[in-house]
């Protein structure tokens, strides 16, 4: 764990914040190195060019998100045996994490890349696409487990529901940033949770009274 990696990490964190606030094209290397307390030469020692910076940023972002998902949905599985309940708990935890971010979610790097695709080489775009595809596959697998136990109320495509998770989060982030109200993101995640609950939970019209509320 040399000092080099530490500097590299600092550069990536600063660059990520800048990209999420101004976009990749408008993120100036000069500003990044000024904030990181290094020189331009130092920067180019770590990254060959801006595209390599983008690649490293994306990989860092994806890894952090993977870890977060592992954490909340793993915890869900620890707390409930039923796959539906486990997923609902995970979503609740995820919503809480989103709400607890000090100054709101800083933004989704994937979305940022998506809205500036022409700035990146194919590799960067491939990383972005594959990452989201990975998350969708993960949720799809979870939904399969759920559907094996609870029959869905509406005939919806589970791939689409899995996609919806990512869509809601990305859309919620935009909404929260736009309105300067972090709770909007939390509410969107919880709304998606309601959707899943409604889709798979036994109808309250059939079994009223004390339905599961987890």
């Amino acid at each position: 764990m040399g000092k080099g990696l530490e500097t590299r990490e600092r550069i990536l964190a600063i660059a990520e914040a800048s990209v999420l606030a101004k976009g990749f094209g408008a993120t100036s290397i000069d500003e990044v190195i000024a904030e990181a307390g290094i020189t331009k030469s130092g920067f180019f020692y770590h990254f060959r060019d801006k595209n390599e910076l983008a690649r490293a940023m994306l990989l860092r972002y994806v890894e952090a998100n993977d870890q977060l998902f592992d954490e909340v949905f793993g915890r869900g599985r620890e707390l409930a045996d039923d796959p539906l309940q486990a997923f609902l708990i995970g979503l609740k935890l995820l919503a809480e994490v989103m709400a607890d971010l000090p100054s709101g979610h800083p933004g989704c790097l994937i979305a940022s890349v998506c809205y500036q695709e022409r700035l990146f080489d194919r590799e960067v775009r491939t990383i972005a696409a594959n990452s989201v595809q990975g998350w969708n596959a993960r949720f799809r697998a979870t939904l399969d487990e759920i559907a094996a136990v609870h029959a869905p109320r509406e005939p919806v495509d589970l791939d689409t529901v899995a996609d919806m998770m990512s869509c809601i989060v990305d859309g919620g982030i935009i909404m929260a940033k736009l309105m300067d109200d972090p709770r909007r993101l939390e509410r969107q995640v919880l709304a998606f949770r309601s959707f899943v609950k409604m889709l798979f939970a036994p109808s309250e019209a059939v079994r009223p009274a004390r339905a599961a509320t987890a």
Copy 2:
């Protein structure tokens, strides 16, 4: 309708495409004027600076979207008396419009602005926020009409459901662009439609058989 407005419109269309593909910061005036077939002086005759260009682009985008929503949901109201059915028809039409775009949805300018906020003055950000707030208010009003007739199955906040509409579309656009598959956006809109349907439509468990499928 002078020739000036025509040139102005051409500039705006070209700039919008560029901004959605590369971001505002990376959109060069030189490229825009080259494609528009005018000179730099000509550009600055129409727009004082890049920020004024951004303002005009946003207003143009918002107006076009307003028109689209008027169209599809107005048509929905023409085809059905029940507010729920009218909304569901509107959503179906919207999904069709999204799917029929020749090379997929080009992107949401609002989202683009949101991910490059630091590049714009407060006015631009205000326009973006107000526009989305306007759309949310519109959908909220529609949901109120629906809720007055059909009791929602789950106790969800209607403001959040209204927000969800914008979130799904923005998220769906990102997903579609990322995966290079326009149908993902269509499917997300239809999934939201299923959500609304499930939320307000009478339970099929209670009234099975020939439930409305519009």
